[in-house]
């Protein structure tokens, strides 16, 4: 049974390579983002997540809501293992797949097929295992002959189809998604929803960050609100409206 357990997670990151002095002048009027504070040696530090705790079990589909810069993506990156906690801990049972950045840093001249292989390799599949799934992935992506074309010729929706097709084919048990996959068209949305339902039925965990409340209602059964890095308790999706109108956590 896959599960995700986050306890007292605090994540701060130093912001390098900017003129800390000029930024300080604007500190007083920060409307978005985590709380900024000056650390030693004038390095700017953002507290992106502040004492966040929650538990998810197999079958949970958690939606994350919150303003731009409230910590949604940072939380997803922390769950993916890219950002290590400063305080607290994250415990995950199950294989994690994340769909956060579309490009994954793969060069734009690589073809769709190359992308399937590289993404599959990065996700931990062997070349033989990818070969086995190649047909299924190609079919689900719906890209047909475009798979032989370089990625730079793809629209955002086509890239999303490809990334989604691979990420949901690697036997992920914990799937992390930022809302970009909403760029797909209606046909793709329908397929994607069916596939996500299937994943969750097999007792997996989905964490999805989005500003689109209808999307959250369609995909999630639980929701958590982030505000300036602080998290609300996890509540049922039916209470989404109350959660949004409640005072900041």
């Amino acid at each position: 049974m896959s599960s995700v357990s986050v306890r007292q997670l605090t994540l701060r990151f130093p912001v390098y390579g900017l003129d800390a002095k000029s930024l300080k002048r604007h500190l007083a009027r920060v409307a978005v983002g985590g709380r900024l504070s000056a650390a030693r040696r004038g390095l700017q530090v953002v507290t992106a997540l502040d004492n966040v705790s929650f538990e998810l079990r197999g079958g949970d589909r958690l939606g994350l809501v919150g303003h731009n810069g409230s910590g949604k993506t940072t939380l997803l990156r922390a769950l993916s293992g890219a950002y290590l906690p400063d305080v607290g801990e994250i415990e995950i049972h199950g294989r994690v797949a994340s769909l956060l950045d579309l490009s994954l840093g793969i060069d734009p001249t690589a073809t769709g097929i190359d992308n399937i292989f590289l993404r599959g390799r990065v996700a931990g599949l062997s070349t033989a295992a990818i070969q086995e799934r190649l047909e299924a992935i190609s079919e689900f992506s719906g890209l047909g002959p475009y798979l032989a074309m370089p990625l730079k010729t793809y629209s955002a929706g086509m890239q999303a189809r490809l990334a989604f097709a691979v990420a949901t084919s690697v036997d992920a048990e914990v799937l992390l998604m930022d809302e970009w996959f909403a760029v797909g068209d209606a046909d793709f949305q329908e397929h994607a929803q069916a596939r996500l339902k299937g994943l969750v039925e097999r007792a997996n965990v989905l964490v999805l960050a989005s500003h689109d409340h209808d999307l959250l209602r369609a995909y999630c059964n639980k929701v958590m609100r982030l505000d300036g890095g602080r998290a609300s308790p996890v509540v049922d999706i039916a209470q989404l409206d109350e959660l949004l109108h409640a005072p900041a956590p």
Binding site: P14, E89, G105, T109, A123
Partner: protein, 276 residues
């Protein structure tokens, strides 16, 4: 259900960090197949859409060897048979070393897309940079074979010693790439400094000129790690006696360098992704 399990915690003291870093090294070794895939993809991507493809690597190097060989043999008043094999090996080995070091600056910055959304062990990326350059080097084997066959009909080539030398060079390059990659990700002036240092080192190292041309035990030779790296591979292939102490020095350098790289990694492992 698979047994995949992830446990990430906050900083719990230097000992725990060192242990976690060691675990990262182990995970990186477990994913070395990915480093090979990425390195291979880098080469394929670089020459996609070009007609001659990776043959360009070989051709451009061959042109350089021919041009510099003919000119410098006259400048140095050496016979072609004496100078061209020496030069070809020098350029090929130095090319691998210098390109690896220059490219090491991008080791982590180029992988930002992957590092920001996966828990891939960071250390596979230095291995990728070095492997990419080894694949490049493999394209030059043709030149080396042709030159050796053309100019030296019979020589006692000690292939085993040359391969040992190459292995030591590679082990050293991986730690250099790790250190330079981390530092260059943090400080964006480093790539320019590295490029300048590597260019300077090219002229200070016996790549084009024979080490016998300057007094024995000159500091430019004895204190120059690149001199030992090139000699460890080149001399056995030219059928010359091995450079005294070169292997021991390279092994010691590898140990010291790995200690440095590991220490740096222990300190920065939580921060590297934020540098990007």
């Amino acid at each position: 259900m698979s047994s995949a399990y992830t446990h990430l915690t906050g900083h719990r003291g230097h000992l725990a960090e060192a242990r976690a870093a060691l675990d990262d090294v182990r995970r990186a070794l477990g994913r070395s197949g990915l480093a090979v895939s990425l390195a291979w993809h880098d080469i394929v991507a670089r020459y996609r859409g070009s007609i001659l493809g990776p043959l360009w690597i070989t051709l451009s190097m061959a042109a350089m060897v021919a041009g510099i060989g003919l000119l410098y043999a006259q400048l140095f008043r050496l016979s072609l048979a004496e100078y061209v094999p020496f030069l070809a090996l020098g350029i090929v080995i130095w090319g691998m070393i210098s390109t690896t070091i220059v490219e090491s600056c991008d080791t982590f910055t180029h992988a930002a897309g992957m590092l920001r959304q996966t828990s891939l062990p960071l250390l596979i990326f230095p291995v990728r940079t070095v492997l990419r350059n080894l694949i490049n080097l493999a394209h030059h084997v043709v030149i080396v074979v042709v030159v050796l066959a053309l100019f030296t009909p019979w020589r006692e080539i000690d292939l085993a010693a040359a391969l040992l030398g190459l292995a030591l060079v590679v082990v050293n390059l991986v730690w250099v790439t790790t250190v330079v990659g981390i530092v260059a990700a943090r400080f964006r002036d480093i790539p320019q400094i590295v490029a300048a240092v590597v260019q300077f080192a090219m002229f200070m190292t016996p790549v084009f000129w024979r080490p016998e041309a300057i007094p024995e035990r000159h500091l430019v030779l004895t204190l120059n790690p690149f001199h030992y790296m090139i000699a460890a591979v080149r001399r056995p292939l030219l059928g010359e006696p091995g450079e005294p102490g070169a292997y021991a020095i390279l092994a010691a350098l590898a140990l010291a360098g790995w200690a440095l790289a590991f220490g740096l990694y222990v300190i920065t492992r939580r921060r590297i992704v934020h540098y990007l």
